[in-house]
Assembly symmetry: C2
Homo-oligomer: 480 residues x 2
């Protein structure tokens, strides 16, 4: 329910999207001029975050994580937080900040993450991923959107609300440093800090609009199970002439095993994989089918001749309501320039499964480990290492918070946002629902064009500033 660069506005059902003209109660013009006046400072502040290569997947960036956390705490203080500190966890630190207006006021917990995806492949970037630049109306660099750019909107909206004296809520911030590796430390940290984190709603900007022209609020995300596998054949690299044909090649074997994980109908063959998947009713599916989507534009955008996925489901269903399995990385043998004839000892792959609500990541991970070992032929040894995981979740669209967000965004964009379901995962939010009893609200301002996780990540300035305005307005309407 995501990639709707391909949407044709004229097709949009009026049930899904309607033009709105809210009465402007808040001085939006003030926020606009506040942004205009402070733009240079905003850029400097955001760039100071983007320049820190806070890549959580790689141990070598340990120091960068701490530097980035400290810088964030500084920015929260400067914005007006009473308290802003870097708190240790069993992994990368959490930045916690708060401003308590009144013990009886509603409390908004803002969640964001300061870690970023690895920038590789570096040769595909047009500019240095950790030296942000502005051109073509956007900021370019790793984290420009995900999630440094998006969390920065919250700090600035908070700053604005404080300076105009209009903030009527208590605000708490948690910015974690392990979202891109599925937040292994945050759940236990939350368990230990339940009192500190008490809040009515958790506001998150880490998602993507349904299209550039159709603002949306994400009401469900997929879960994730991510594993690394290793297939070992002979105990050393061999001469492919001397042994080729007589000894199982671990790359060929890994390919066989991976190939067997998805059947000819595009279904994952891991035993029990679909047991907990909720099959949607025909009615639900026809509701979903009304979402605007143009398959030809989709294919043209990706330069592919055909889409591919589970038989019996549409493209939007395949990412919105169905689980899947993808190899995210594979390597083995000689991968340098030219030809080296080798029968390698090992082959490796990173395998991700996106899960739908009800599928428990821990259960699927266990099923995968069992399945992968069970299909290993006798001529190789197989290791399977679970790396990351998190459950999917759904968010009620009937809450005060949802309504306030919808109204705020409608006012800024002149169009009511569509509730959508995302194919991606924010593992920790399901945990937060369980541990703290707080529902998340996904007020994300990313666009597909931002190519997060990929080279040349960017974030449109218009989304950055509209996001700040929308968040400020959210506080306004959430208090009414």
């Amino acid at each position: 329910m995501i990639i709707n660069r391909f949407v044709k506005i004229i097709l949009i059902s009026e049930m899904l999207v309607k033009f709105v003209s809210y009465e402007t109660k808040h001085k939006i013009s003030d926020m606009k001029s506040y942004i205009e006046e402070n733009k240079t400072r905003f850029y400097e502040e955001l760039f100071s975050l983007l320049r820190i290569p806070s890549v959580s997947a790689s141990k070598e960036h340990k120091e960068d994580m701490l530097r980035c956390a400290r810088r964030l705490a500084e920015l929260l203080k400067q914005a007006g937080a009473d308290r802003a500190e870097v708190m240790p966890t069993s992994g990368n630190p959490v930045v916690f900040g708060e401003k308590i207006i009144s013990p009886t006021a509603r409390t908004v917990l803002v969640y964001g993450h300061y870690d970023v995806q690895p920038a590789e492949p570096l040769d595909k970037w047009n500019t240095d991923p950790f030296e942000p630049v502005i051109h073509d109306g956007a900021i370019w660099g790793r984290g420009a959107n995900d999630d440094k750019g998006q969390l920065f909107m919250h700090i600035k909206a908070f700053e604005f609300m404080l300076r105009t004296g209009e903030l009527r809520h208590n605000v708490k911030f948690i910015f974690e440093g392990e979202e891109e590796i599925s937040s292994p430390s945050l759940p236990s940290w939350m368990e230990q800090n339940k009192e500190l984190l008490k809040a009515d709603i958790c506001l998150v900007s880490d998602t993507t609009f349904i299209s550039e022209k159709v603002p949306s609020i994400n009401c469900g995300m997929r879960g994730l199970s991510y594993l690394e596998v290793k297939v070992t054949g002979p105990n050393k690299d061999l001469h492919s002439g001397h042994y080729g044909g007589a000894v199982a090649n671990p790359i060929n074997t890994l390919c066989d095993m991976i190939s067997s994980l998805i059947d000819k109908d595009g279904r994952v063959t891991v035993k029990g994989f679909y047991d907990d998947v909720e099959e949607l009713s025909e009615e639900d599916r026809s509701q979903l089918a009304r979402a605007p989507f143009d398959i030809d534009e989709y294919k043209a955008f990706l330069d592919i001749d055909e889409v591919k996925g589970e038989k019996g489901y549409t493209t939007l269903e395949r990412t919105g309501i169905r689980p899947c399995l993808d190899v995210c990385g594979i390597w083995g043998g000689y991968t340098g320039e030219g030809a080296k004839t080798v029968l390698p000892s090992e082959a490796h792959a990173k395998i991700s499964m996106r899960l739908v609500p009800n599928q428990l990541s821990s259960k699927i991970t266990k099923l995968f480990v069992e399945h992968f070992k069970s299909i290993a032929p006798p001529y190789v040894k197989v290791e399977v290492k679970p790396c990351e995981g998190g459950d999917g979740f759904l968010i009620p669209i009937t809450s005060d918070a949802y309504k306030a967000a919808s109204r705020a965004m409608g006012e800024v964009y002149g169009i009511e946002p569509v509730p959508s379901r995302g194919g991606g995962s924010i593992a920790v939010l399901a945990e937060m629902q369980k541990i703290l009893g707080i529902d998340p609200l996904l007020m994300g301002f990313g666009l597909e064009r931002d190519t997060i996780h990929s080279p040349n990540e960017s974030y449109l300035l218009s989304q950055l500033f509209n996001g700040m305005e929308s968040i400020a307005l959210f506080y306004k309407y959430y208090s009414e």
Copy 2:
């Protein structure tokens, strides 16, 4: 017919190997003392070659190739060649050297190659691959055996024969710099230098004994077709959450395609692949089956529970008389530390096919390109790039040269060498037969324990010195 570290001497048929006691006509003791007296100089000279990273697979070593060629020409001059020069080709230069004793004498053309395989994976080496060391009775470093160590024996045997005044043959040398990339430039250079290269036999030391205890002379090698394939899905790396399940993943697709290349009986599915493969008679196969081989030692050496290969053939047949297909390298997506969720744009593999005599490499390469494109599903784009190739060949064991080599080695090792068939490839030798009409004689002194093409390549000093003696004796018996 190769890996016979696993041989049990007690099982060896007397038809294949018999102990011999040749009358010593040549003063072998002279060669032994010559080696003893000059050992330090020999090490220095050989190490000066091994220190040059003459990796032909990688363009960045262009200068190293030239340096290595020049150093070889120097060594030939110092050994006593009348002429020794670095000659340009369309690729890396050839070192040509000669000593003409008499226009009526037999001429031996010595072939070797000064290029080496890439040293990767570097972290698996115990010492610097390009800083040779001696320990445990062996020289360790890239090229220690393949082929710098082996060609060096020829220079020193030649030097010895000249210094003792016993050389009765004309000797020519060609040392090429592209053997490890299938000698793309040498055939046309040979065409242009037919007159210069006229000879009666081509002596080559670039092969491996059937076992450490069983000297052998290689009488046939497999050919090679080596290709690189690229599968492209979407035109950019995608977020695996946003697109996973709806867009074909090129890694999964590449795995499917590779998996389909070998069927459940271990046969290559490329259409027409077996058309020219000669099926051996039951009698020939039972002859081959008499070669000593211990499957349990073989599996223990490789630490595998089961072997795997074409149904209906033994392990020795699978490498000796049957063709095969192996993936030598595969890569795509995120291969760094930790978890990155990406649906990549591209996936790559390097695929090698070992061919038996009669299978033409050019034909098999063409068949593979056609086949691989034909099995590409509509949701990806496929590129196939032929990299290397060469035909297999057989060598008559009835020639004077074979007999001289057999006698020489028998004398040095005290055991008559076994004729064997190798699974590896020296592409250019089949070309040489065609262009120059010269049969090769494969007097190689490598051992499986040398792990050529792999980390920690080594060459036993005993083989280095026994090789020098054997070659010197070859000259002796070849003139009788």
